[in-house]
């Protein structure tokens, strides 16, 4: 008879049950479990942990998160569509010998010039991205789109896609556009956005949290204007917004909840970056009541 085995350690037992201990050592553990009540009880508890974990129901995706994912996905699809339409327009420009005056996107031509299309996509992808972001109230001034820029500022996502297409139609001039989002120095040069005392209040219910404020604001900025409901802001809010923006170009004013309580989100371009303020309901031109602020790097990009 072999010497008495000491009691099993929980880690060892867990490794044994996970199949990590086999051979003679495994056989010794099996033998020990056969005549040690204490270790058998521990073994049962360990099995109980697994069945307990398995019994916890899978949490349902909250509606608010589902809506947010749908919005983010819509922004991605719109961005990609814009890039594709720009590509198609570039095809047309190529056929027309560089005559870039057409406004509408050309239908896609099956079996087009592949090499040229690849080039077009590479050149246009950043341009189209910026235009769609502009439709979300963001960043158009980073890119000189010539005569089309003023219309894009107020356009819907679809309009932005057309703008991308017409910009693309001027293929030769678009060719110099490289990584526009990486040039924030241009951002302050061309004032754009909502005139300070002529903004609409976007009516939303999104609950923002202090811990994730910057990320959440970025998401809200990506919502296409066509998906936003707006109303005329009350006079007190106008005063508050004027006070906060302090002459800077507004990007977004939206009613939100902050940590569960009513508040107003104000985003303005304050130089190379944007600033987001969470204004309390009593904020006015004489009472600058801010619950939180966040600085957003200029140019939205994915992870």
């Amino acid at each position: 008879m072999r010497g008495q085995m000491t009691h099993l350690d929980t880690d060892v037992l867990a490794e044994f049950r996970a199949g990590l201990i086999t051979g003679r050592r495994g056989a010794r553990i099996t033998a020990h479990l056969g005549d040690c009540e204490r270790c058998t009880a521990l073994d049962e508890q360990l099995a109980g942990v697994r069945s307990l974990l398995a019994s916890v129901p899978v949490p349902a995706l909250p509606d608010s998160v589902a809506q947010r994912l749908d919005m983010a996905l819509a922004a991605e699809v719109a961005q990609r569509n814009a890039a594709q339409r720009g590509e198609a327009a570039l095809d047309q420009a190529e056929r027309a010998g560089g005559d870039g005056t057409r406004e509408s996107a050309a239908p896609r031509r099956p079996g087009g010039n592949r090499g040229f299309r690849l080039l077009a996509l590479r050149v246009l992808a950043p341009a189209a991205a910026v235009v769609v972001l502009a439709a979300g109230g963001y960043g158009l001034s980073q890119l000189d789109l010539g005569s089309t820029s003023s219309s894009a500022a107020s356009s819907t996502a679809g309009g932005a896609a057309r703008t991308a297409a017409s910009a693309a139609a001027g293929a030769e001039s678009a060719g110099h556009v490289n990584e526009p989002a990486a040039e924030p120095s241009k951002a302050g040069a061309v004032p754009r956005g909502i005139a300070r005392d002529d903004f609409s209040l976007v009516t939303g219910q999104r609950n923002l949290t202090r811990a994730n404020l910057a990320q959440q604001v970025r998401t809200l900025l990506l919502v296409p204007p066509s998906a936003r409901r707006t109303q005329t802001p009350p006079p007190q809010l106008r005063g508050c917004v004027a006070k906060l923006a302090d002459g800077h170009t507004l990007e977004l004013v939206e009613s939100v909840r902050f940590e569960g309580r009513p508040a107003t989100l104000v985003v303005a371009r304050t130089g190379v970056e944007d600033t987001a303020w969470i204004a309390a309901p009593d904020c006015s031109d004489t009472h600058r009541h801010v619950l939180a602020t966040a600085i957003l790097p200029s140019g939205i990009s994915g992870p």
Binding site: E15, R50, L53, S55, L73, E259, A292
Partner: protein
């Protein structure tokens, strides 16, 4: 699960890469409940989980052409979600202090408990216990013990070996044991908890 006759996951992904505007949405909606569970259990924070899931969705949308088909589409999606969640945990560990606001809002934040949907004591205790685990152990345990993935699939999702998955799960279970042992007896009772009715008069 897809309906009978619905396109398979890889077919939807192929259509998405080919330019179909609706294919990715259909694919993602198919799996997002489970993907949410992975993010939520790994991060233990609904706001962070929502951010991670969105990051992952956008990343998958953009990088779909990189999918080579050596794993199932679901494995690929889960891997992106787990990575987005673990990235967030790393960043959270290194996050600088946030900008200031007023005291009231701060107190409201401290008082808040994250997930209002949590009702069951078991879930509360399991959630609390999961927080004790290192992220890599937690991710493995969530996939294998809570979501029912095989060790092999979990290894593919976590981009590691099956042996490592087994070892992380074993250590995680051993670590949780002292915190969960008290729940094992009353598990069935806990699930059937309902508001008291009738009986004693006040």
């Amino acid at each position: 699960m897809p309906d009978e006759g619905a396109p398979a996951d890889h077919e939807l992904l192929r259509r998405h890469v080919a330019g179909d505007a609706d294919a990715f949405g259909e694919l993602f909606r198919r799996h997002r409940d489970r993907l949410w569970a992975v993010a939520l259990r790994t991060l233990c924070d609904p706001d962070e989980a929502a951010d991670a899931l969105q990051d992952a969705m956008v990343s998958a949308f953009r990088r779909a052409a990189d999918f080579r088909g050596e794993s199932a589409v679901t494995t690929w999606l889960h891997r992106i979600v787990v990575n987005a969640s673990l990235d967030r945990l790393r960043r959270r560990a290194a996050r600088p202090a946030l900008s200031t606001g007023d005291e009231q809002a701060f107190e409201a934040l401290v008082a808040q408990d994250g997930d209002p949907a949590r009702t069951s004591d078991t879930r509360l205790d399991v959630d609390a216990a999961l927080r004790l685990l290192p992220p890599q152990q937690r991710a493995a345990l969530v996939l294998v013990d809570m979501l029912g993935f095989s060790v092999a699939d979990t290894a593919a999702i976590l981009d590691t070996s099956p042996g490592t998955v087994k070892s992380r799960c074993a250590r995680a279970r051993a670590r949780l044991l002292p915190h969960l042992a008290h729940l094992q007896g009353n598990r069935s009772a806990d699930q059937s908890v309902s508001p008291a009715q009738g009986g004693d008069t006040a």
